[in-house]
Amino acid sequence: MTTTCCPPVPETVSVEIGGMAIALRTPDPSFHRLIENRYEGFVRASSKSYLEFEVDLCDLSDSSPDDDLEVKFDAGEWLLKRGDFRARWNPETSRGRIRQSCSPYAIDCVLRIVHTLILARRGGFLVHAASAIRGGKAFLFSGLSGAGKTTISRLAPPDATLLTDEISYVQREGNRYVAYGTPFAGELARVGENQSAPISALFLLEQGLQNRIEPVSTTEAIQRLLRNILFFADDPELVNLVFQAACEFASLVPIHRLVFVPDQRVWEIIG
């Protein structure tokens, strides 16, 4: 009797954010489980993918996730590097390879970077902002850590659909901008709903003694927005694309300052 030993067959799990599926292929079932748990609601068993990565799981214990992140375009490929991962991706073939430890933080970071690079060429961006849909319209609440993104998300009324409490996905569609849910969670530790809606307004968060909406000048709005947009690549052309995207966004979407007291009444002035 002959026994044949077969190597494990790589299986694919796709994570779809902003309507864009990224396929991850690995034979390791524990990685599949990790992806399915972390990105619940965003995982597709089989869907046409925009981009496909082979994932090699390995021990990178001598490196730290705190090591400097490097993102550059070289010889036709995007190279992404941090202590806990190395990734390369060829935009022409839409294929790439990730070498990482079996860590949710590594794949999370790779996905965020890849989406920022794709969105930059489409006039969109990822931004530090909570977002929610109410009455068919999306509202973004932008600010860096401590500004109140998680607080405003916790205070959302039952008729609001939370898209994220941390990183909002903004895509340009014709002459409007659309917000998509993301699995990139903040302190709420809860993935957003995988839904989308046209953006009605963006609020720059500021905690204060009373709830009020204040106007901001276009230049201040653009400057504040740019501060909150996620961007990693050391690439002047892409920096310019992101800059122009922020300017375009500010010309089409109302941007206000939202001064708020952390209680539910703040939602009475939104929408």
């Binding site: 276009t218 230049t219 653009i222 400057q223 740019l226 002047p236 052309e237 920096v239 310019n240 800059f243 122009q244 300017c247």
Partner: protein, 105 residues
């Protein structure tokens, strides 16, 4: 006599005219500047070939009705500050091939 200055916009910037103000961001360190109307006029005239004194006389003094000496001092300060961030290139010789291709208006 002071040496003539020639100024040109760096290629490593992103810029856009918003209303009457020019917004400029360095692609190197993300430093951000909002230029008022006078500074925007100098910025837009920074072609590397026109001497700064000529820009001040021909653009600033004519368009904004300011004293020539005062305008020149202001222009020198503005050019010094932006050149320190690599946003404007300055030389005592005409500069060629440096005009930004990234700028949109």
């Amino acid at each position: 006599m002071m040496a003539e200055k020639y100024i040109a916009r760096s290629k490593a910037i992103a810029a856009r005219l918003v209303g009457s103000e020019m917004m400029v961001m360095s692609a190197v360190d993300s430093t951000f500047f909002t230029l008022n109307e006078v500074a925007s006029a100098i910025w837009q005239a920074a072609d590397g070939r026109t001497p700064l004194s000529e820009i001040v006389a021909g653009k600033v003094c004519k368009q904004f009705d300011v004293d020539p000496e005062q305008a020149q001092r202001g222009a020198d300060r503005f050019v010094d500050e932006l050149s320190q961030h690599g946003i404007l290139l300055v030389s005592d010789q005409p500069l060629t091939g440096t005009d930004s291709s990234l700028e949109r208006r």
